[in-house]
Symmetry: C2
Subunit: 152 residues, 2 copies
DNA sequence: GCGATTTAGTTGAGCATTCAACCACTATCG
DNA sequence: CGATAGTGGTTGAATGCTCAACTAAATCGC
């Protein structure tokens, strides 16, 4: 406070607005496609993906929250819906009586398997097909830098 | 359909997940800061910014929707809230009787002026400070390519 | 001109997310 | 051991977004 604001110069302004527009358009498009084709928002899809990759297809709620970059509250609400849909099941954790374990059901796995090809195709079409290999590499480095910076 | 899915290779997978994590973390952080410091979500801030830059500080609703990359419905709901807060005003369009014009009020401009320095500082800290000038340039090109690809 | 189609914008219902408050259990430290 | 602080997770209220349906006005086509 009291320090003069470091305003964005025209190039930074342009970069920031382009980034905003691009990430919003990309996410909105993928979210809409997933909702239409699989009946779930992208956030829920991600939860199922993470569970499907975990040993035993099950994870502690808090670990799942970290992996999906979501708040505990958000994950709790989402888990309630996913459980109501029969796609996951919640179990008590044997080593910590506070803990809960989210487990992907067979139905959940089937829904995920049905949704995956279309979604991956969408990611490819809307993101990777538009960029050169060099740009993909740049985007990876930039993104990893940002993640480290934001969570560090 | 019927065509084999072009799955993501490990590098693409890594890029996609890093991009997801980075853009989500960045947006969440800025949204939270803006909500805390200015009492509005980032989407509303953007609406006020676009209005403040328009001639006469007023824009047609549909043009405002395009500029902010939002649906008409979303903008309508947002405008209702912004009007209730006294930050914008809606006027009839003289040339098209279906049209509405959103006009930034003096209160709205003052709120924006108060919020801007903190927000710009956040964008700088969380985004630009983390990247090299070359990366900023890369990010601009990538983002502009994506926008063109997604809206083309 | 006049009916059919588009375009501008709003509305309401349903869903997802946030924030703060909360309970239950665990870990820490005197 | 016992008090205190911290962690894991859930809940409810409030807010914002999406989708589909709708009104009203402009435009198109003949």
């Amino acid at each position: 406070m009291g320090v003069m604001t470091r305003w964005l110069d025209p190039d930074e302004q342009r970069t920031w607005r382009a980034f905003l527009a691009a990430s919003r358009a990309l996410m909105d498009t993928l979210d809409r496609e997933l909702q239409r084709d699989a009946g779930m928002p992208h956030a829920y899809y991600e939860i199922l993906v993470r569970l499907s990759e975990a040993p035993g297809r099950r994870l502690r709620m808090s670990e799942l929250a970290d992996l999906t970059g979501s708040s505990r509250s958000r994950l709790s609400h989402a888990a309630a819906r996913l459980e109501a849909a029969g796609w996951i099941r919640r179990e008590d954790c044997p080593t910590d009586r506070r803990g809960q374990i989210a487990a992907l059901t067979d139905d959940g796995f089937a829904v995920l398997a049905a949704a995956a090809p279309g979604h991956v195709e969408g990611v490819r079409r809307h993101l990777f097909d538009a960029l050169s290999p060099a740009q993909v590499d740049q985007l990876r480095r930039i993104s990893e830098t940002l993640v480290a910076h934001l969570t560090g």
